[in-house]
Amino acid sequence: MKPSRRLSVTAIFLGFGLAFLYLPLAVVIVYSFNASKLVTVWAGFSGRWYAELLADRQILDAAANSLIVAVVSASLAAILGTAAGYAFARFGQFPGRATLAGAVAAPLVLPDVIAGLSLLLLFVALGQAFSWMPERGLFTVIIAHAGLTTAYVAVIVQARLAGMARDIEEAAADLGAKPFTVFRTITLPMIRPAVAAGWLMAFVLSLDDLVIASFVSGPQATTLPMVVFSSIRLGVSPKINALAALLILLSLVLLATSAWIGRGALKRASLRP
């Protein structure tokens, strides 16, 4: 009897934990199908808020902006972060390593408000110094997000490389491949899951960011979190529930993709003798 009772206590704790994490999400999804205009009163099932959401140009434009920013900044971060992670994992004690490591990792601990403010000051100063600098807008948000999320990619890629024996890359060099060829044909395909995971992480972080985007964005470049945040201040529309439900769905798809990529990597990693 004892084990089963212990198990049930564990199950209860697990249930509480899961409920704590996911009940709010479930509530949002359920209420996104609410027919009532009042967010907190249930008045039957309806898909009208989804229809209204898809007719709202402001939200659709913001969604497009957010996607552009997320894709471009995540791609930039993937390139820069991979380069940094590779340098940390493979170049040994090169001069300036500690400084570079600190600089790359700083956004991980820097409060968003500080990062946003300092970037805003930088962009304003740059705009005054160089006339060719573009106005604040999507471009500056992309730069800001790439700088923030590079750290995450670097950490993931460095961890993957640290766990990967060097002899495979050495074998490639031994077989006549020059360093860049080794990186392109051997290292990169083997760390691809880590780069992809880093990209997804950067994508989600960028999609999620409100604070930094609010600081560095311009008038024509409102992102989705900014729209959501301002609309909440004016009173919550059930449309936002519908939007949240769609975003949860997107996150689930991305998470599943990430897990699927990771599984393939695990299978490949296990073949090493």
Partner: protein, 358 residues
């Protein structure tokens, strides 16, 4: 003939530890050289210095007469087979073999032919489309070998290539490697900690310890005439006893055996200080129940322990003077079987006893 690889006074330190300590070594064209030693003796570092993965602190590495001390691995006409095989997991078997050839800008039909030839040499021509994770350990080892052979290197460097194989497969692979080398005429440098493997395969064996080469020579020479006790202890399981000058001139006193012995060879016998030892191969000792007519020297003793090894048995025989003698006897007939506690007589010819320096 000039050596294919010449190591000139090479040293390599890691912090305070000298992994390779002032080693000079010539590797001849078409020879099979084994670097033999316990782990941490510097044998792998020496191999990596030849491949170009490490740069020496001092000294030069010449390959084919050319100074390649600082050349990158991809510029050297040598190939290395890794202990882990280091196959590219995201490529097929054929892709792995083709990789090195593509770096030499070989393509098309020539590439296909060379890949096929290499796979044929290791009998893997039917598995070209498989991925490394679909192969057995022995097959992966062959892919690693084929990948090196396809490049037709002047020297093939082998880092403990048989370490991950079981005993049966290891013996078969040893024979195949030797046959392959005869056919292809490539110089082999093998790193191993297995003295049996080194003796079976190599033309010359270099015994290493603490970053130095203790002795280098043909396996039989090392076996018969070890230059020092360390070599003797490492190479085969010799009986080694310290000796002092005997009462009769030209003899040595072996205290452990309580025996005054005549010794066949040993440089320190010629007037030098007597701080040596004598060695006796366990298989050179005859064991019997009775004191037979003495052909050489012998002692009386009691069997203290028996280790049955199949084709042979090892007996540890305690002698009255206090020493223990290791004896190896072929299990060729029933009369040569002894049990613990049996009283036996050990004898050997005078030439079997070798004097060695400390």
């Amino acid at each position: 003939m000039s050596p294919v690889i010449r190591i000139e006074a090479v040293s390599k330190r890691y912090g305070a530890v000298a992994a390779v300590d002032d080693i000079s070594l010539d590797i001849r064209e078409n020879e099979f050289l084994a670097l033999l030693g316990a782990s941490g003796c510097g044998k792998t570092t020496l191999l990596r210095l030849m491949a170009g993965f490490e740069q020496p602190d001092r000294g030069r590495v010449l390959i084919g007469g050319e100074d390649m001390t600082l050349s990158a691995p991809y510029a050297r006409p040598v190939n290395m087979m890794f202990q882990s095989y280091a196959l590219f997991p995201h490529m097929t078997v054929a892709g792995n073999v083709a990789f090195g050839l593509k770096q030499d800008n070989i393509s098309g039909d020539v590439l296909k032919a060379r890949v096929n030839e290499a796979l044929l040499a290791v009998e893997l021509d039917r598995l070209g489309d498989r991925r490394p994770d679909q192969l057995s350990g022995g097959q992966r080892q062959r892919v690693a070998l084929a990948r090196c052979l396809a490049k037709r290197p002047r020297v093939l460097l082998l880092d403990e290539p048989m370490a991950a194989l079981d005993k049966h497969l290891r013996e078969r692979t040893q024979l195949e490697l030797m046959a392959l080398r005869k056919r292809l005429g490539i110089t082999f440098v093998l790193v191993t900690h297995d003295q049996g493997e080194a003796m079976a395969m190599a033309d010359r064996v270099a015994i290493m310890e603490s970053g130095r080469i203790l002795q280098i020579g043909a396996p039989r020479d090392l076996y018969e005439r070890p230059a020092s006790q360390r070599v003797a202890r490492f190479f085969g399981d010799m009986n080694i006893w310290p000796v002092t000058a005997g009462a009769t001139p030209g003899t040595l006193f072996v205290a452990d055996l309580g025996l005054e012995a005549r010794v066949a060879s040993g440089s320190f016998l010629n007037g030098g200080p007597l701080t040596g030892a004598v060695a006796l191969r366990p298989e050179r000792i005859a064991i019997s129940r009775t004191t037979e007519s003495e052909t050489g020297q012998g002692v009386q003793g009691t069997v203290a322990e028996v280790v049955f090894l199949g084709t042979a048995s090892t007996y540890f025989v305690k002698v009255p003077a206090g020493g223990t003698v290791r004896v190896v006897v072929q299990n060729s007939d029933a009369t040569s079987v002894f049990a613990q506690g049996d009283s036996v007589h050990l004898s050997w010819s005078a030439t079997a006893l070798t004097a060695i320096e400390p």
